[in-house]
């Protein structure tokens, strides 16, 4: 597999001053996927933004790594509910007009 389109976990951790075990724990929790290529650990570019959100929650709010999956799940539910609200508002407008 070509690694030039993947993001090195090592570089990511170095940039964000993280211990690599942080990213490994997230993978164990099923929050991210790590690709191993020739003993190097990588993530897909589109996984960087969601991963950075987890990093922010961890670093800004001191949320423990083990609890991040719960918080992440709740945030995803909020986003989903917000989308549903918009759709319901549109449907309501349909019936009220």
């Amino acid at each position: 597999m070509l690694t030039d389109q993947l993001i090195s976990v090592h570089e990511f951790c170095s940039y964000h001053q993280l211990d690599i075990t942080f990213v490994e724990t997230l993978e164990q929790q099923g929050l991210i996927q790590i690709t191993t290529v020739e003993q190097g650990l990588y993530i897909q570019p589109d996984a960087v933004a969601p991963l950075e959100r987890l990093v922010r929650l961890h670093q800004d709010l001191a949320i423990h790594t083990d609890d991040l999956d719960v918080v992440n799940e709740l945030v995803e539910r909020i986003e989903s509910l917000q989308q549903q609200i918009t759709q319901l508002q549109n449907r309501l407008a349909f019936y009220e007009s």
């Binding site: 933004a49 922010r56 709010l61 001191a62 945030v75 909020i78 349909f94």
Partner: protein
Amino acid sequence: MDFIDYYKVLGILKGASEEDIKKAYRKLARKLHPDLNPNDAEANKKFQQLNEAHAVLSDPEKRTKYDQYGKDWEHAEQARHGGARHGGARQQQRQRQAYSPGDGGEHDFSEGFGGTNFSDFLSSMFGQEGGPRAGRQEAKFRGQDFEAELRLNLRDAYTTRKQNLTVGGKTIGITIKAGVENGQKIKLSGYGAAGVNGGPTGDLYITFVIAEDSRYKRKGNDLYVKETIDLFTALLGGEKIVETLDSKVKVTVADGTQNGAKIRLKGKGFPVYKQDGAFGDLYVEWQVLIPTNLTEEQKDLFRKASTL
């Protein structure tokens, strides 16, 4: 720019200890953090103020100046040093701009919180502005995000179209995919205000407002339309040409069709957003027109029919 009482923002008294400040900050940050409040502009604004307050009050030197000079704390200090730097209000404004929401529940972070447009890390890789969290003490600030509304009619939203927008003197060409929904928001990275001191540029958020159509009503990807048929077609059956948004369809009307009856024209509704070739359905509601001004001969025929 109004003065912001940092103590009030943190909900603490002026004599609060460092520990109190830390606790108050932590408590409010958990409540207002943009990642926990996706698409909530008010929470985002309060979080910016919270960070601003925390940045000043958690620094003993800045706090002393703030306590001494109040709203002009930074300005007063500048005056003592020849007034070469920006004023306090400007500083407040810059700090408020340092944190802004993204779309789809993702948030963008700039100086102080480890993020820029789509990714702090990717931005650094591709040579854009912004930097690691280690550099959060540098006075770089992300430019302000712009919000805009784009009004379309239903027919505009039916097809993919390119549209030019002029924002802040810049003309931006955007492609609006068919099937966009009322209230849907998109982000155009880097089209907000310019950053301060080399900070990254803000983003432009466009919310689509789709006006109602006089003929068609939309529910999700389905369209609803009312069509009239005359009494004889309703009684005896027949054909009717129904206009869809992009064509005309010949529809068979069954005999004995009731007023208000609906039929579904599969795949003749609204395009599904970002799914080429996928369409919702078109529901046609028949409205039977009762004839008026009947001649005596016609009335006689109806009377006869009613007794058969």
